[in-house]
Symmetry: C2
Subunit: 238 residues, 2 copies
Amino acid sequence: MTQSSEQSMRERRAVCLLSGGLDSSTCLAVAQREGFACYALSFDYGQRHRRELEAAARVAAAMGAVRHVTLPLDLRAFGGSALTDEIAVPKHDRVEQIESGIPVTYVPARNTIFLSCALGWAEVLGAFDIYLGVNAIDYSGYPDCRPDFVRAFEQTANLATAAGVEGRGRFRIHTPLIDLSKAGIVQLAASLGVDFGLTHSCYDPLPDGRPCGRCDSCLLRRKGFAEAGVVDPLEYAA
Amino acid sequence: MTQSSEQSMRERRAVCLLSGGLDSSTCLAVAQREGFACYALSFDYGQRHRRELEAAARVAAAMGAVRHVTLPLDLRAFGGSALTDEIAVPKHDRVEQIESGIPVTYVPARNTIFLSCALGWAEVLGAFDIYLGVNAIDYSGYPDCRPDFVRAFEQTANLATAAGVEGRGRFRIHTPLIDLSKAGIVQLAASLGVDFGLTHSCYDPLPDGRPCGRCDSCLLRRKGFAEAGVVDPLEYAA
């Protein structure tokens, strides 16, 4: 507990980064279970899969977030990722075919940018807790999903802000999924009552909204559900 | 020099955060003098003084920035600062009347957010150098203008990015003004040929664009010019 006793008498607030995918939705459910009044934050960063933002709004509403803000932040001004640019999203038939290393879907500095904005909102709200649904096990290709990065950002946050410098509290970046396998995340989500049908994970959905089933994100999700022995209610195109 | 020899054979690029004020304009001039091809980055963050963005565009063009991007990022979604919200900007007659401590014009996590976006652009550009015109001497009230914060962010940047993690280079946040007085900044700017008439520092300009002359930023600027013995070409309202 990093909250002061005075603050814990009031509503305990947390900012929860929410993409609308399985991981961030599960992370929001964890924050709710831990007793936080949750302020969900999504970004309209020019992602090619707009379904993600619709999913985020559905999940935030279904889970009882106090407020959900979708911040427009057009990272296409910089280019450089298959998620925001004209680079093709890689497709595979099996999860084993996913290339190791940093994937082309990597968006430069994305989690740093998202956490920075979450930090700004947290300070305005008087919150010191930020939830981020990163996972370093099944998808360790992204540098900004690793514990070293999260700890470094946390240290920066406490030096960057009036609230941190004045000692009103200590910012904490919660990453409850970071050591879980995708199957473990599915099991945790199921135990918390996450409505899987509301979530969206695909990097490249069909025009009718169905997930492609063959991008890295779909493959890892399907593998996670299979290993967890849980039925994924989404209807995949392939 | 953190550039690899291969990269130094090519164009050396830097991302320069540019508000259009005296400090960031001087910082851009320093980056140019140091031989960087400069990519200037401004933010339309809902600041009440739109003149700032016009000044940034003028300064970037006049100084020969390779490119100038103004990224819309509406921090009014969070509220919490006199620069973005309905809180009044404090006015004084003399610089000695400026309150100590963190001013109401503090925008929560602003420099963290700005540096994060600069980092994303830098990675796309293959740049490892980011210029930030913060100053810890004459205006130490902002926590995110201090050396401790800058070093912490730099460390985070090198853990956050593919370029940093893969060892392609080491990100460096340059803060050439951090130890200068405002008078020292004016002298440096004059020596670099900064066109002071293009810059804009006021937090609360008049409808006709003239700086108010009585906000903290105007008072510190005027004191800096006076102490440097340089004429400020701006026409102040008061």
